[in-house]
Subunit: 324 residues, 2 copies
């Protein structure tokens, strides 16, 4: 039986993060309110350090290392925001960080991770086994693995974003949160359960990667092949044991959004709210607009999870045609 994290863990994470993570703003848009006939509150984790909520969980996990663990260092594998989050949190705490990345990961992401002081070890994903490589480094160097989502300290850290949102807005009726591996959604669920138990919490996945929705329906974790979607932060193949444990208990439902809806939302954020939001970060608003849930007259929270999108790609996506 897993010991699931609790709101007390979220609250403790908030104390650890105080003054280190940004308390990101909650922004409003009269246009969004009009579109949804609701009061909409956007929690802007795209404005978080390193551009995504991931810093919260990474720092919360690393700050609880023992002195032996700190000395030996942390290891993770990720080619996304979690890699940068671990590298940055480790630098702030003086912990050596090793990040396993595929040789063909985007150069920009490798450089960003190195820029935060992480040691990037590349592997050939076609000939080398990532897990075996990580196990070898773990035992050779005595490193501690912090996975991207399925860890109680990571989940508790991610939950501080929804906690801040609810502190700033007071109770909400509905909240939409992007869903990949479930770190952000399960952390949010702990905050919602404690601070706004009447609030209906929806996880939002890319339509092409609806393993979370399938898992909820089936009552067990469903594995899928890596989905093809613009939402690269939600290309996970399955939920984790901890994240699913919280999600099945506390989340109202899981809905999906198409890539076209994500691009529309991305244009809306750039044109009307002057924000750069990555495709994964657009999941919540896309679902609020298109999933057909009753929002009229409601107080609606929307989590913008991050803003890390390659600038040329972003320009291409938003430049193709105006938001209508």
């Amino acid at each position: 039986m897993l010991q699931l994290p609790t709101y007390d863990d979220v609250s403790a994470a908030a104390r650890r993060l105080h003054g280190l993570a940004h308390r990101t703003p909650v922004l409003r848009s009269a246009t969004a309110d009009r579109l949804l006939k609701a009061q909409v509150f956007f929690k802007c984790e795209n404005l978080q350090r390193m551009g995504a909520f991931k810093f919260r969980g990474a720092f919360n996990a690393l700050s609880q290392f023992t002195s032996e663990q700190r000395k030996a260092g942390v290891i993770t594998f990720s080619s996304g925001n979690h890699a940068q989050a671990i590298a940055l949190a480790a630098r702030l705490l003086g912990i050596p960080a090793t990040i396993l990345m595929p040789l063909d990961a985007p150069q920009a992401k490798m450089e960003a991770t190195r820029g935060y002081g992480g040691e990037v070890i590349t592997f050939d994903r076609y000939t080398q086994d990532r897990e075996a490589l990580a196990r070898q480094l773990l035992s050779d160097r005595g490193l501690t693995l912090i996975p991207p989502y399925d860890h109680p300290h990571v989940i508790a850290g991610q939950g501080t974003a929804a906690m801040e949102l609810l502190e700033d807005t007071g109770p909400l009726d509905v909240m939409f949160v992007p869903l990949g591996g479930g770190g952000l959604l399960s952390g949010s669920a702990l905050a919602v359960r404690a601070l706004a138990p009447q609030c209906k919490l929806y996880g939002v996945e890319p339509e092409a990667g609806d393993d979370g929705q399938q898992s909820l329906r089936k009552g067990e974790i469903v594995h899928i092949p890596t989905p093809s979607t613009l939402a690269d932060g939600a290309q996970t193949q399955h939920l984790g044991e901890y994240t699913f444990g919280v999600i099945r208990r506390d989340v109202q439902d899981i809905v999906t959004a198409t890539d076209a809806q994500l691009v529309d939302a991305m244009r809306f954020f750039a044109e009307r709210m002057k924000l750069v939001v990555e495709p994964t970060g657009c999941l919540g608003f896309a679902a609020a607009c298109h999933a057909g849930l009753p929002l009229e007259g409601k107080r609606v929270g929307v989590m913008l999870s991050g803003g890390n999108v390659d600038l040329a790609r972003f320009a291409q996506l938003i430049g193709s045609q105006g938001w209508a």
Copy 2:
């Protein structure tokens, strides 16, 4: 002798705007701090209602109309952010708004102004005299003219942005503010003078439109032809009597930025801070990076004045190459 507005007027404007204008966030960037070897505080008026600081001055002016003035309505001429600001403020106050725009103004701007409920009257700028047309409407309809910058109530309203910045950060050593007609800069000067008298305030103009710098050097308002620059919010031909009166008294100096520097700054904001900032809004940070002023170890405020840039144009500018 002009009666220049004072900090008391700014303070009164803040009370009128409370709950109506957004209190925009002040954001930080570790990268910006590292680049400038300073602590940099960005006041995000691109996140203001209608996408620019202009709402502050427009609302402050219109909310002081007498009941006769309210009934008859307001008129202004502008093809930019001031038009939308007047239209929105007028709608909130139930005042009819008439906006004179050239026939060939961007369709999007006309629609946005109409969207806020303003009556747009177009004129042919090659055959019709805008001033004569406005005078005729003024007398025919008894309208009150609120010009885009040279009005004490407009200046006082714009000053609330710098006031909020200083309230949030405490005293700063240096502040950079974009300069077109001088409404934002002179309002900021009133706030700086009262709240942080040691702070050196710099106005920043596009290099191609340095009439403010020339005016400061010469001690009188210099008129120039409409400058050719990406910074369409700073294409003014001259300062106003009120704005120049405050600027010559309270501003440390006026510096300039090139269009290339504005595009670099625009890419920086999109890539590193996840913000859409219009070219004019980039003037302050461009000067902080390139004007050669001593900022090391200083606390530096940078005013981002707005984010209203056509999305296709924005995509084209930021997509052309990465920020280096």
